[in-house]
């Protein structure tokens, strides 16, 4: 049984989703090709190695070329994140514990599926590939409510980080029109998903955390701290650097993630709001090491 507050939130979101129904084949026209190396596809300030000697040492055309492969990687991450999301949401449709949320879960599934059409078309048509997913999940036993809580909490972390990029790039007039439009379309739906995500994460934590042992609660918190790191590590994809023509791509990825200060500052800035939300509600007791 869900709370009255969450039920009302879900009902409002259902109404908003119905008013925002879209046809993904009409919302966005994809040209046959895009000018790689000429236009920006990722805002320069959001490129993974921005603020590092490696980025500063590239000429303008190289930076713009990298911005294209950064976009292919960003959209690939979204595809993998949303595939996991679709699987998890589908499993929770008409779950007895969450049955009153099912009308909104239908919209959530519908909207995420449409997003993947945008991301997948861009990656396949212009990049010729979707970068592979490098995350691995282990099956294990869960305490009551733990699996659903972790699922929605991971979704929230992933989507809030992604949405920071979407919001910034939806407004960036320097960007290629298709890349900018995909970011804008994604953000328009994500705003509702994030409201839902924060509500359901808080509610599941309040409902179940008191039933968990100290060991389970510690493991849940460690998992979430580690998940921030997993999400961010995938932004530094060696294959993306390789495709952009950068030498020693694995070394660059590792150095940028582990040693460079400007990328670390970006990770902390982007993650701040989500971390603060988790701290405020006692879900986390400390900040992740980013």
């Amino acid at each position: 049984m869900i709370s009255e507050e969450l039920r009302e939130t879900a009902e409002k979101l259902v109404e908003q989703s119905r008013q925002s129904l879209s046809n993904p084949y009409e919302s966005l026209q994809f040209p046959a090709s895009v000018p790689v190396g000429e236009e920006w596809f990722t805002s320069p300030e959001l490129i993974s190695i921005h603020g590092t000697p490696a980025f500063d040492g590239m000429d303008d055309a190289q930076q713009r070329k990298l911005s294209f492969y950064e976009a292919v990687n960003f959209f690939s991450l979204n595809i993998h994140g949303e595939k996991a999301l679709l699987e998890g949401l589908a499993r929770r449709l008409y779950d007895p514990e969450l049955t009153e949320l099912s009308p909104y879960l239908h919209h959530f599934l519908d909207e995420e599926n449409k997003h993947m059409i945008y991301f997948g078309t861009f990656c396949s048509r212009y990049g010729g590939k979707v970068y592979e997913d490098r995350t691995i999940a282990f099956h294990r036993q869960y305490a009551p409510g733990e699996e659903s809580f972790l699922f929605f909490a991971r979704v929230l972390i992933f989507e809030e980080i992604v949405d920071y990029f979407n919001r910034k790039m939806a407004r960036d007039e320097r960007l290629n029109k298709v890349a900018r439009r995909i970011n804008a379309l994604h953000h328009a739906d994500e705003a509702r998903h994030l409201v839902f995500g924060r509500s359901v994460v808080r509610e599941l934590f309040v409902r179940f955390a008191g039933q968990w042992s100290a060991g389970t609660l510690l493991a849940v918190r460690q998992h979430l701290l580690g998940y921030f790191r997993v999400v961010w590590r995938e932004y530094y994809n060696p294959e993306m650097f390789k495709d952009a023509g950068i030498a020693h791509p694995r070394q660059l990825a590792e150095r940028t993630f582990s040693e460079e200060e400007a990328p670390r500052a970006l990770r902390e800035r982007v993650s701040q709001s989500t971390v603060d939300y988790f701290l405020k509600h006692g879900i986390l007791l400390g900040k992740p090491s980013l």
């Binding site: 997913d133 490098r134 282990f138 460690q222 580690g226 590590r233 294959e239 694995r250 590792e254």
Partner: protein
């Protein structure tokens, strides 16, 4: 005599360092790393990056089979057997 002793020692040190409550010496080649919760799913991507550094070559995720991170023996045979 086991193959790739230097890789095994590096793995023991890495796992112990990321677990924080076990010593490298307590991790045998057949210790069940995941089953005994020495590492969790959110640490595996860091482990993959570490393995890529050790072998100097990328790991293709599509080629990984279930259980490849079960223990040090399996990791070494999976990622270093032909080296």
């Amino acid at each position: 005599m086991t193959d790739h002793p230097e890789v095994r020692e590096a793995l023991r040190g890495w796992i112990a360092g990321h677990n924080g409550s076990v010593s490298p010496e307590s991790i045998a080649d057949g210790t069940a790393i995941v089953e005994q919760h020495l590492l969790t799913s959110v640490q595996i991507l860091d482990l993959i990056v570490f393995l890529e550094g050790l072998r100097g070559e990328s790991v293709l995720m599509a080629e990984l089979k279930p259980g490849v991170f079960r223990d040090i023996d399996t990791i070494v045979s999976t990622f270093f057997s032909s080296r």
